[in-house]
Amino acid sequence: MLNLDHLSKIYADGTRALADINLSVRESEIIALIGGSGCGKTTLLRLIAGLDRASAGSIRLDGEPIHEPHPAVGIVFQEPRLLPWLTVSDNVAFGLAHLDRSERKARVSHALEKIGLAEHAERWPRDLSGGQQQRVAIARAFVTYPKVLLLDEPFSALDAFTRASLHEHLLGLWEETRPTVVLVTHDVQEAVTLADRAVIMQPKPGRIFDELPLTLARPRDRAALPFESAVRRVLAALDQSLKPVQPSPHRERDREAAALWW
């Protein structure tokens, strides 16, 4: 269970990136954080990953507070971030240095098998396509068997076909250890394809606007009606979240009162 409690983040220059985020994610749940750019999705992910410190509030994984990178939390970045001097299999094995050789080998070859890159194990990252590199990055995060896996728009730089196949690879790997997944995305289709719950965020300062459960059966058929209507619901909520803030009735009344006073 991952719990975010009154989390906020203010950067050194005074920018309020996140304000009072409360969220709890069940074990093995996949949630999608959706929102336009600048609403603090990535900041939130970096806080959970322990790469940045929250200004206030707390993050707890099964009751244990997180303020630095935690062994049970893995992350896949927007870019593959493979180490160019390591072969594909060494890149996947990067987080497994503490394991003995045979165990490490078994996990790596299994993961490569799973993402369909077994025959590329000994190649350099530079020889792979963008989609293949991102698959390696996902495998690198999965082989440590994290309890929580964070995905920061990992598919945003890829074309639609590659993205769809990566969704399958991701769900295939997820099935094995069923970690909690927090996926940041700006692609509504992607959120509905993967997530059990969509969390819609709002900018300035970044905060949660709404949460929508996505209870479609898996595997999800993108062409089916329930999928379509789920996409539409999320889109509607997103639209709502982006509307300029309506003047609150309070303010209106105050102004009228002021006018009367004159």
Binding site: L51, P69, I75, L83, L86, A97, R126
Partner: protein
């Protein structure tokens, strides 16, 4: 249709981009042939000048006393090689470079690593080192001679100083420019400081470190000449001074050629030795 288009654009000159592209698209094989031709073109000028000069001296148009013809330079070089003199001088020079390069490079790597890895150490070390770097290294010569004597130690020290600065700057700069995103990968996997240095920083700086070492080696060759000018009894630099004092321009030029060959060989050796370390690099060098 396409043939017609090409014809048309040919007639119009290169007025349309398609026409120009069609005209300017030779086959890869043709490209390679043109490349070879251009390499030969580069050799042509020095070769022509050498032959012209040779002919001019041979037919008595020029004396060739101060600018000896190529044949005489090669004869001198051959003569020096046969008597074994050339090897004595070359090994003396190479030994000085090797010693100076080793000391300078190791010091450069150590100080570069210190100043690149810690902000506090950089603030402590860098201003002093930069100030020292601003001193022309030859200016140290009198001091080194006073301190270390006129023999090997002062020469090696001068070369080491020359090698130190490019290596120091290269290493420190390389560490500072390591991609933050890759360092973050290390943080996510909770690497200790030492593991981070070994598994991410070290491999990431290797390509630039090789370049720094190469420019350090180049400067080593430069400073060995300066060092051997200040009173040496052997070494290729001594051959230069001796050639000047004895009025033997052919010996000077022979020594210069020996320097060129040795310098190129040393650089190639360094590149060859470090190639396995940087073979993962995604650069064009491999394809050239």
């Amino acid at each position: 249709m396409t043939g017609q288009g090409t014809l048309q654009s040919t007639r119009q000159g290169w007025s349309s981009p398609q026409g120009a592209a069609a005209l300017a698209a030779p086959s890869p094989a043709g490209k390679r042939r043109a490349f070879d031709g251009r390499v030969l073109l580069g050799i042509f000028l020095p070769l022509a000048i050498a032959l012209l000069w040779e002919a001019a001296v041979h037919f008595g148009f020029a004396q060739g006393r101060l600018v000896p013809p190529p044949s005489r330079i090669l004869t001198t070089l051959w003569g020096l090689a046969k008597t074994g003199e050339l090897w004595t001088h070359a090994t003396a020079t190479l030994w000085r470079i090797l010693a100076g390069f080793a000391i300078g490079a190791i010091a450069g790597i150590v100080f570069g690593a210190l100043s690149g890895s810690s902000d506090a150490l950089r603030r402590l070390l860098d201003p002093t080192l930069q100030a020292l770097r601003a001193i022309p290294s030859i200016a140290w010569v009198p001091l080194f001679i006073l301190w270390l004597g006129i023999f090997e130690a002062s020469k090696v020290a001068l070369i080491a100083v020359g090698v130190f600065f490019p290596v120091y700057l290269g290493i420190a700069g390389a560490i500072l420019s390591v991609d933050r995103k890759l360092v973050e990968v290390g943080r996510v996997f909770r690497l200790s400081r030492i593991a981070l240095a070994r598994r991410i920083l070290l491999p990431a700086v290797l390509p630039e470190a090789v370049i720094a070492l190469r420019s350090g080696l180049g400067l080593g060759f430069m400073f060995v000449v300066a060092a051997e000018f200040m009173g040496a009894s052997e070494g290729l630099g001594y051959l230069l001074v001796d050639g000047q004092q004895m009025g033997k321009p052919d010996q000077i030029l022979a020594a210069i050629i020996a320097f060129a060959l040795l310098g190129k060989a040393a650089d190639s050796l360094l590149v060859l030795a470090t190639r396995p370390l940087v073979r993962w690099q995604d650069t064009v060098r491999e394809r050239l």
